[in-house]
Each structure stands twice: as structure tokens, then as C-alpha cells.
């Protein structure tokens, strides 16, 4: 049996904002942007939660509930810096740290008792170190697998430490509401509730076949989780599976040339990322969101490429086919997936693209040296 820690930073974005501006201490703080805008709450302080606010809530709703709150756009880069700093601190103790998100980390404590002592005591030490060093509060869950450790870190927040001893997993989970299990969201929650499942114990006592019939593989996983089983292997490093670039407009756009110019910009950035990693894409998708929130995505499979021109032609084509309503666009994005490594082999049988490939690699070198803006591939002027 393993001993897994799950460290979850408490209201992480808000904690960082309070480092930048200590006057936010004790106030209801909401990170997510303009309270009259279209965003959602990315994070909110515990003071704000008392008004019924929670993350992912539309920011306008939040503002209605808590007009006296301090609404911030957030400092994404700064969150990343603190996240890296916390990770580096954890790596002083653990050879393997799995970063689950910007503010969540799994640590494998198995066999560490001899060096670091009892898990709960060590968790306290870690928690207070992170507070003293970074002024960041966090909660820690300790259990025999990642799922339960995650549920445990959420059990007492903020600044909680919850230890689920081996063999007590089912007992710990049984009285918790089903939505505490990661993966039970907007779709599955009402479905399970309507069938009488209220607490995790109800799921544990159900027949796995029934859950499987109801939810497929997720149902089987759910049954296992409810019975205290789960993955205990930490994963580090991840290969990029796709590249996305999107942008939301302050004002909805209707001008086709303007949108195309923006698409061209997004394609340039995405293709540069592809070439930096020596990748090629073979699936190009676009995403459009109209003013009325109607969203559509269109994709096309192509020969592997990293060429701005090729990708843009596809994107333009997909866009022209999709932009068929007389409604403004509020968001536009592109997505490159099915990535594979670019090798010289790929170009052996191709003649027309070879020169462009060399040209693009030269562009990449120039950008490496002088920055992305130093050289541009012409399309349309951008305001």
C-alpha cells in the first residue's frame, strides 16, 4: 500500500493577489475579470464564498450576489511563478512530484517515514513551510491512492490536513456527498441523484454492473472509487498532445477580413510552437462562438505539416464554411492536434513543400534570436 499526499493550495489565485496587494487581506476577492463582462469566476476568496460565490460561476452572477467584492483580472504569469516555486520546494523532499494543475500536487510519501517521520507531522511541516516561504495557504490530504488523497485535501479547507488510514477508505468516503468524487459533474450528478444516490456509500453498495450499465466505463470507475480503490502511480512530465490558440473579443466582430487577420495571427503563433517542438499537425480545427453563445467547431484531417500557409488555407476554408450567420463573433480559436515528430524522412517524397519548410525553419531561427515579432509572414494588416 502506498501513502500519497495531495497538496491543494487554498484559493491560490487570491492568495497570490494578496501578496501583490496586501490591502486585499480579509476582503471578498474575485479573480476573473470585469464584473460586468462575460467571464467566469476563476477563483474567489473564502470571504467571497460566504456570499455563495464559487469558481466557474458567471462573473455577472457573482457581482449580483456580492457587489462589494473586489474584482480582479488576475496575473496569470505570476501564478505560474509561484506554482513553479512551490513545485521546486516540494522537489527538495520528493523525487517525484506530479503536478495535477497550477495549484495541485501529488507526492508519493511511501517509504519516507524513516526519513521524514509520521505523515501527518510531515504534512504539517510542509504546510507551514509553504506558508512561511510563500505566504500561500494550502490543504493536504493523505491516503493510499490519488483519488482519496484528493477528496481528503478538500475535506477540511482552508489550511486543513486530513489523513485517511489504510483500511479506512470506505468508511471515510461513505458519508460524503457523491459530488465530492472527482468526475461527478453537471451531467452525472443529476442523473445519479434522480436514481437515489446521495452519498458515496450509496454508490459503494450499488452493483458495479448496474453503474456500468448506467454510465459505461465511468460507472465501473466510480464504483471502484466509491469502494476506496484508485490509482496510486504518480505521473510526471507530459507530452504536448495538441496546441490551442484562441481569443475572446472585447466587442463582437463581424468584419470577415478582420477575423481572418486574427486567425492568421493565431495560426502563425501555433505553427511557431509546432516548429519549436519539431512537431507537425495532421488535424486542424477551428472554434467559433457567436454573440448568442452558439458555439461550433469544425475540423479537417490533412497531411502532416507545420507550414503557416498550409494550415491557414485550411483554417480559412473551415471558417468560411462555418461563418454563415448574420451574427457577430465573440470568440475564435484554432486547435492543432494529432501531432507527430517532424523528420527528414517525411520530406523525402515531397518536392513542392521542401523549400517552404527550409524557409520556415529559418524563420524559426530568426524568431529564436530576435523574438516572435521580429519577422512576420504577410497576410493582412492588423489594427
Amino acid at each position: 500500500m502506498k501513502t500519497i499526499f495531495h497538496l491543494d493550495m487554498d484559493a491560490f489565485f487570491v492568495s497570490v493577489e494578496r501578496i501583490l496587494d496586501p490591502s486585499l487581506e480579509g476582503k471578498p476577492v474575485i479573480v476573473g475579470g470585469d464584473p460586468h463582462g462575460r467571464g467566469v469566476v476563476a477563483a474567489c476568496s473564502y470571504e467571497a464564498r460566504q456570499f455563495g460565490l464559487h469558481s466557474a460561476m458567471p462573473i455577472r452572477t457573482a457581482f449580483r450576489l456580492c457587489p462589494q467584492g473586489v474584482y480582479l483580472h488576475g496575473h496569470g504569469k505570476e501564478y505560474g511563478r509561484f506554482s513553479r516555486a512551490v513545485k521546486r520546494h516540494l522537489e527538495r523532499y520528493f523525487p517525484i512530484v506530479q503536478q495535477a494543475s497550477i495549484d495541485e500536487f501529488y507526492l508519493d510519501f511511501t517509504g519516507c517515514e524513516k526519513i521524514y517521520g509520521e505523515p501527518v507531522q510531515f504534512a504539517q511541516k510542509l504546510q507551514s513551510e509553504i506558508w512561511e516561504k510563500f505566504h500561500l495557504p494550502g490543504s493536504i490530504g493523505i491516503a493510499s491512492n490519488k483519488t482519496i488523497a484528493k477528496i481528503a485535501s478538500d475535506f477540511k479547507k482552508p489550511r486543513g490536513i486530513t489523513f485517511v488510514p489504510i483500511g479506512k477508505e470506505k468508511e471515510f468516503l461513505a458519508p460524503l456527498p457523491i459530488e465530492r468524487i472527482p468526475g461527478i459533474g453537471k451531467a452525472t450528478f443529476p442523473m445519479l441523484r434522480s436514481r437515489g444516490f446521495k452519498v458515496v456509500g450509496d454508490l459503494a453498495n450499488a452493483s458495479p454492473d448496474y453503474l456500468s450499465a448506467l454510465l459505461g466505463k465511468f460507472g465501473t470507475d466510480l464504483w471502484e472509487k466509491a469502494n476506496g480503490k484508485g490509482n496510486d502511480i504518480l505521473v510526471t512530465g507530459h507530452e504536448r498532445k495538441s496546441i490551442s490558440k484562441e481569443t475572446t473579443f472585447d466587442k463582437d466582430l463581424v468584419s470577415k477580413p478582420k477575423i481572418e487577420a486574427i486567425l492568421f495571427e493565431l495560426v502563425s503563433e501555433a505553427c511557431q510552437l509546432l516548429r519549436n517542438e519539431n512537431w507537425q499537425t495532421s488535424t486542424v480545427s477551428i472554434k467559433l462562438r457567436y454573440t448568442d453563445f452558439v458555439t461550433l467547431t469544425r475540423a479537417k484531417t490533412i497531411e502532416p505539416t507545420d507550414d503557416d500557409k498550409v494550415v491557414f488555407e485550411i483554417v480559412k476554408d473551415l471558417f468560411e464554411k462555418s461563418f454563415n450567420r448574420r451574427v457577430g463573433i465573440r470568440l475564435i480559436g484554432i486547435h492543432l492536434s494529432k501531432l507527430n515528430h517532424f523528420t527528414e524522412q517525411c520530406i523525402l517524397f515531397e518536392d513542392n513543400g521542401t523549400i517552404r519548410k527550409r524557409m520556415l525553419r529559418a524563420v524559426m531561427k530568426i524568431r529564436d534570436k530576435y523574438g516572435f515579432e521580429s519577422i512576420r509572414i504577410g497576410k493582412t494588416e492588423i489594427d
Binding site: 497570490v16 501578496i19 501583490l20 496587494d21 496586501p22 490591502s23 496575473h75 504569469k77 505570476e78 501564478y79 505560474g80 511563478r81 509561484f82 513553479r84 516555486a85 521546486r88 520546494h89 512561511e132 516561504k133 510563500f134 505566504h135 534570436k369 530576435y370 523574438g371
Partner: protein, 294 residues
Amino acid sequence: MKNLYIGTAGWSYKDWMPNLYPKAQSANFDWLEYYSKYFNVVEVNSSYYTYISPKIVDGWIKKVEAKDDFLFTIKLHQDFTHKRKYSQEQIKAVKANLNQLSTTERFGGLLIQFPYSFVLNKENANHVKDLVDIFFEYDKFIEVRHKSWFIQRFFNFVESNKSSLCTIDQPVIGEAIEFKPVKVGDNLYIRFHGRNTKAWKASLGNFGKAQTYEQQNERYNYLYSPGELVEIEQKIKEVLDTVKKVFIIMNNHPKGNAVANALELIHFLNERIKVNVPETTLKAYPRLSKISLN
């Protein structure tokens, strides 16, 4: 920590009023004396432009008398590093300053800074060697900015000549290296130029053109964020135990940003002790209330 020297590049900036120096100053108010209440080192940059009279150096020594561990580091005159034209007289003048500071135990080291265009080749290597020979008896910090110098042979040369390699932090553009302190020599000398990428890029195009004071200094106009400082702290700590002395010089001077960041680094690198923050600075940088004694 005893051997940690954290301060700024220069202390005489008008735009440090009111963010460090108060606006209302009595007749005998002295900037250096005031500065030395809060910091234990300053890098002298005026020595890069002029040969400083011994009288002036005497004055400095007197002004910091109350601060036992205060050190000056001296930037070598551009005649030596950039123009490569120097006489025996000029060598004497520089050495006179260094000796004055050494005998009064106020000498931190000599900064020999070369420009980005100074690449490793035989002629340039000989030039470095000549300067190192001239100032052999003094602790030296060598700042080279071009990648070509980052080879073991040069490191060995630095180490065996009473010198240390200077680490810099600046916007990562072109062949510039991301901040990473390396131990080459007994001491660590780190200069922070800010990360104002936009102004830095613009300044490359303005080289040699007539500019106002503000234009000239815009590329240093940058305030490091707490997250950046925490990451910087972690990187410095990786090599801290391997060196004798650590000098950290903030050169992001416009408006006194260097002052705020230097105080923050004093806090971070000294196991988060509370720091004596001037009232003026606290007012200008409210986030320093978290680290301030008062």
C-alpha cells in the same frame, strides 16, 4: 547571513525622491549616509565614466562610518573595458581608489564589465588577461555577456586569477542567457538589470542616438514581481553554500524600483527576517508591508 551583500547600482538618483529619499531634506542630509542605513553594499558606477578623486572616496568612507559591514564595489572605467586605451596614470588613479577602500576595509571588489559585442577570440582573451594582470591583487568580478565565453577553459582562467564570474539577469532576447547563477570563483556577483523587454529591444535601435535621461534609462524601468523574486531566491540558494561572499546588485534603478526589490531580496535570502524599510519606500510600495519591521 553574514556574507550576503545586497544593494543597488549607484545611490545618487534624483528620481529616488520621494520613494527612498524624503523630499524635505535638512541642509546636512546626505544620500549615501541615508542609503547605508538600509543596505550593506553599493556598486559605484560613476567610476566607469570618470576617474574619481581620492577626496571624494574619503568622503564616502566617512559617510558610511556608522555601518560596520558596508562595502563598495567599483566598476572599472570604460577606458579599460570598452575603449581599450589607458595609460599608467590612469591605472594609478584607479588603484588609488581601490587601495583607499581596501585599507579601510570597505572594498568589495572590482567589476570589469564587457559589452555584449565582446566575443571570445584571441585578441579579446588577451585583453581580459591584460586587465586581470594589471589588477591582479584585487578581488575582481568579470562580466561577459556573450555566450561564447561560457566555456570551461575561461572559467578555469577566471578562478585562478582571484576573480569570479558575474551573473546577470536581463530580458531574455536573442542570445541572452536566462538567469542562472553559476559558481565560478570564490564569490557570487549578480547584477539585475530588470526585464523590460520592450524598452530593451527599443534601446538596441536607439544606440548612439541623442536621448533624454528618461529615454536612456527606460530599459531599466522595471519592478520585479514577488513571484520572480521567489524564483530568483530559489536559484541563488542552489549555489549559496558553495561561495564565500554573495553580492546582489539591483540596477533597475528608475524611480527607486531597485531599492524596493533589494529590500525584498534581503528578506527572502535571509530566511525571511523582517526588514527595516524606509517609510518613504513603504508608502511607494505597499506590498513591502509584508516584509517590513515597522
